[in-house]
C-alpha cells in the first residue's frame, strides 16, 4: 500500500515528505511554508485517495528539513499532517503536527470590522477548539471558524 502511494508522486532521495494534507488546503500549506518562493525541487500530488479525508494531498520537498515552529504553522489547515524525514530514500523519522495554543500572524480575522483588518497589525488568536477549528481573535474577541479562515 505504502509503495503504491509513493509511486503517485516521485520519491526523493533527501528531504521531507508532508503527507495527510486535506486536498482542499494544499495551496494554503504551500503558502504558509513559503514553498511558492523556494528554489528546491518540490513535487506534490493532490486528490489522492485517503480513508481519513476522502481526498488528501502530499508534498515532497527535496533537501529541506523544517524547524518545529515552522511546521506547526500548518497545523491550522492540516492538523493531521505527518512529516516523513527522508535520508537516502529511507524514512528515518516521522513527525506529527501539534496545534499551538496561540497563533501569531498566519491567520486573518474573518471580521471585516476588526482593527487587525484595518491597520497594519500582526494578528493574534487563541485556539479555542481544534476540531473543527475555532480561533478567538485576541483583539475583537470574535471567533473565526475554519470555513472562514484565510491565511496571510
Amino acid at each position: 500500500m505504502n509503495k503504491k502511494k509513493e509511486l503517485s508522486v516521485n520519491a526523493i532521495k533527501e528531504g521531507t515528505v508532508i503527507d495527510h494534507i486535506p486536498a482542499h488546503n494544499l495551496f494554503k500549506v504551500i503558502s504558509i511554508l513559503g514553498l511558492d518562493h523556494c528554489d528546491n525541487l518540490i513535487t506534490f500530488g493532490t486528490n489522492l485517495g485517503s480513508e481519513r479525508y476522502g481526498k488528501k494531498a502530499i508534498i515532497k520537498v527535496a533537501d529541506k528539513f523544517f524547524e518545529n515552529e515552522d511546521i506547526n504553522r500548518i497545523a491550522l489547515v492540516a492538523p493531521d499532517a505527518r512529516l516523513n524525514i527522508i535520508r537516502d530514500y529511507e524514512v528515518v523519522e516521522k513527525q506529527l503536527v501539534t496545534v499551538p495554543d496561540e497563533i501569531i500572524g498566519i491567520a486573518k480575522c474573518f471580521n471585516p470590522k476588526c482593527i487587525t483588518n484595518n491597520e497594519v497589525i500582526t494578528t493574534k488568536f487563541l485556539v479555542v477548539q481544534t476540531k473543527p477549528l475555532a480561533l478567538k481573535c485576541y483583539y475583537c474577541e470574535k471567533i473565526t471558524i475554519e470555513e472562514h479562515l484565510k491565511i496571510h
Binding site: I115, E119, C140
Partner: protein, 302 residues
C-alpha cells in the same frame, strides 16, 4: 488594577467589580472631590457618542481633572490618515489616562498595547463597553440591594447588543437566572449559551414578550440598531417586535426595575416613564459615579 487598562469586562475579577460598585456609591454620596487635580485625561472619541462622552467628562470635571481630546474623528488627525497607533503613542505622551471610543472591533485592546498610560475602553465597535456594564451593575445593586440570585430578563436585540453580552458575563459571578426574550433572528449567540451552560447558570429563551415578566427583578430592554444589519429588510422585520407598555407592568414585582442602556427609540413606550419602576434615566446618571470609580481605581487614587 493600578495602571492596567480596562478593555473588556472580563479584565475585572468579581472582587474588582464589587469594589467598583462600592466606590461608585461613595462617589455618589460625595461627588465633588479633588482627586484628579493636576491630572490630564485624554478623551478620544473617534465616533460620536453623547451620553458616554459627557458622562466621562462630567466624572473627570467633578473630580478636578482636565480633559483634552476630540469628540469626532473629523476633528482629529485621523482625517489626515494618521493611524490609531500613532495617535495613541502621541496622546499617551501627553496624558495620564486615555478614554477611547472607536468604531473598529478590537481597537481598544490594540490601543492598550501601544499606549504608555492606561486605556479605558468607552466602546470598541460591536465588541465591548465595560463601563456601561459597571454602571448597569451599580444600578442593579442600588435598586435590588444585592447582585446575588436575581432573575434577569433581557429583551430585544440579544444578538448584536454588546451591553447584553457584557452584562451576561459580569452577572454570571452572582448566580442569576436569565430569561432571554428575542425574535429568532436576534437570539443570544450560541457562544454565550454554551458559556452559560458550562458555568451551570440557568437560562430560558422566549419568543413572546408576555406576562412571564411578572417574575422579573430586572427587565433589561435594548434597542434594535439599524447599523448592525446588513440587510435592511431583516431590520424592518424585527425593529418593532417588542415594545414595553405601562399596562404590561401591572402584575410585576414591586422591586422590578426597568433598565435600558439608552438611547431608546420606541421599544419603551413613553407612558412607562412615569412608572416608578422605570429606572433608565437614573441608570444614566449612575454612569457618572461608576466612571469616577473606574478612573480613580485605575489611577490608584482610591
Amino acid at each position: 488594577m493600578k495602571n492596567r487598562s480596562l478593555v473588556s469586562i472580563n479584565d475585572f475579577t468579581k472582587e474588582e467589580i464589587l469594589k467598583i460598585v462600592r466606590l461608585a456609591a461613595e462617589f455618589e454620596a460625595n461627588p465633588n472631590q479633588d482627586l484628579l487635580k493636576h491630572k490630564v485625561i485624554g478623551s478620544l472619541f473617534f465616533e460620536p457618542s453623547t451620553r458616554t462622552r459627557l458622562s466621562f467628562e462630567t466624572a473627570i470635571s467633578r473630580l478636578g481633572g482636565r480633559v483634552v481630546g476630540f469628540s469626532d474623528s473629523s476633528s482629529s488627525s485621523t482625517s489626515k490618515g494618521e493611524t490609531l497607533k500613532d495617535t495613541i503613542r502621541m496622546v499617551s505622551n501627553y496624558t495620564d489616562l486615555i478614554v477611547m471610543r472607536h468604531p473598529m472591533d478590537g481597537s481598544a485592546r490594540y490601543a492598550a498595547e501601544q499606549s504608555r498610560v492606561p486605556i479605558i475602553n468607552a466602546g470598541d465597535g460591536s465588541n465591548q463597553h465595560p463601563t456601561q456594564t459597571l454602571l448597569d451593575l451599580y444600578s442593579i445593586k442600588k435598586t435590588q440591594g444585592t447582585l446575588e440570585n436575581l432573575n434577569i430578563f433581557m429583551v430585544g436585540d440579544l444578538k448584536y447588543g454588546r451591553t447584553v453580552h457584557s452584562l451576561v458575563q459580569a452577572m454570571s459571578h452572582f448566580n442569576p437566572v436569565f430569561n432571554f426574550i428575542a425574535p429568532e433572528e436576534l437570539r443570544i449567540p450560541e457562544e454565550y449559551r454554551l458559556w452559560l451552560q458550562s458555568k451551570g447558570i440557568k437560562f430560558y429563551e422566549h419568543n413572546e414578550f408576555t406576562d412571564i415578566i411578572s417574575r422579573a427583578d430586572i427587565l433589561y430592554m435594548t434597542r434594535v440598531q439599524r447599523e448592525r444589519f446588513v440587510d435592511p429588510i431583516e431590520y424592518e422585520k424585527v425593529k418593532n417586535v417588542y415594545i414595553l407598555k405601562n399596562a404590561m407592568l401591572s402584575n410585576t414585582k414591586d422591586n422590578l426595575r426597568i433598565l435600558h442602556p439608552l438611547p431608546r427609540v420606541n421599544e419603551i413606550n413613553c407612558d412607562v416613564d412615569a412608572n416608578p419602576k422605570a429606572y433608565y434615566f437614573q441608570q444614566a446618571e449612575n454612569g457618572v459615579y461608576a466612571r469616577m470609580a473606574v478612573i480613580c481605581f485605575i489611577l490608584g487614587l482610591v
